[in-house]
Symmetry: C2
């Protein structure tokens, strides 16, 4: 008999604090270019992959993300038109790299990596309770015929965990090494052209 897939837990069912975050500030999760988790879900089966080819394309936020069609998640994203972009921190780094080196076609990654799916508000795809932040997204444009596999996503609901002590994200160098966030420098006084954003 097949094991029944765990369904998502509602945020209020758990002690894990994933709280509302202003959608119009969610671009700040993506602009620094951290490694992301991409959560997809189809037929009640959740999956998660690791991605680093992403960019902000609009403040609302609009996010571009390039996933290969060889990724299990690619087809789910293409079919369901929704996903959750989840921001992991450095304490999750080894798991995040391992998540990127196995396929949801072979294992239940939520179960294997002890991730807790939390029910979101706008999409059926769950949030990752363990992450620093989660943004529910819908697909605005599917990949075209230019061979680039670029999805254009629109964030429709943002969440974060304000109680998390570890807030440092990390960046893929692309060669198997990863750069951890170092010091943050405040240069707001210099952002004369961008006062609306800061």
């Amino acid at each position: 008999m097949m094991a029944k897939r765990a369904s998502s837990r509602k945020p209020e069912d758990t002690a894990l604090p994933m709280r509302d975050f202003p959608l119009n500030r969610a671009f700040t999760f993506f602009e620094p270019g951290p490694v992301l988790l991409v959560v997809t879900s189809i037929n009640g089966r959740h999956n998660v992959m690791t991605a680093s080819w992403t960019t902000l394309l609009g403040f609302t936020p609009i996010i571009g993300i390039s996933l290969g069609p060889w990724n299990h998640s690619y087809n789910t994203l293409f079919e369901t038109g929704e996903c959750v972009l989840s921001i992991p921190t450095v304490d999750m780094m080894e798991a995040v790299v391992d998540i990127g080196n196995c396929s949801g076609g072979d294992i239940d990654k939520f179960k294997y990596f002890h991730l807790t799916p939390l029910q979101g508000q706008k999409v059926a795809t769950p949030l990752v309770a363990e992450s620093l932040a989660n943004v529910e997204c819908i697909v605005r444009e599917k990949p075209g015929n230019n061979g680039l596999h670029l999805f254009i996503l629109e964030g429709v609901k943002a969440w974060h965990n304000p109680d998390r002590e570890e807030k440092r994200t990390f960046h893929a160098k692309g060669d198997g090494t990863f750069i951890i966030d170092g010091e943050t420098v405040n240069l707001r006084h210099k952002m004369t052209k961008w006062e609306d954003c800061i």
Copy 2:
């Protein structure tokens, strides 16, 4: 009488070491999501802007970059079909932020910010001698009609400065704060799916 614009210096004319870098490894400059300088040139007039909405789209490398049509560089990039993506380091951070807060329509940014244009090999647009690395790029796709202002660039020649002591790049948070690269962690042993890339 208008001042004559400085032309580019050839790499061999200067003590500043900007050397060949393997083009098929140049994706490692972009994947971590650092703040970039975008150099453009038209009618012998060089300009430079700051950009952080970029993503890798292919290993060769292909880079997606979103520039607003309100940027002076947008029109030059659109018209000339070429640019140089230049990777600044943390010692250039304040200048890079200031470069992002003024317009090439008003000032000669190379002159004002004491940047040295170096002649590249494949495009007429100069490299920035002071940067960690430079990649000469041609425009593969101009922005479509989806309001996203996304250029698809292809890197055609890469350069780096191997003698530079400061190698830390930095990342825009989007709110006027910037994250400096911290520790680099080697997880190559975990990259079983990506052995060709590491």
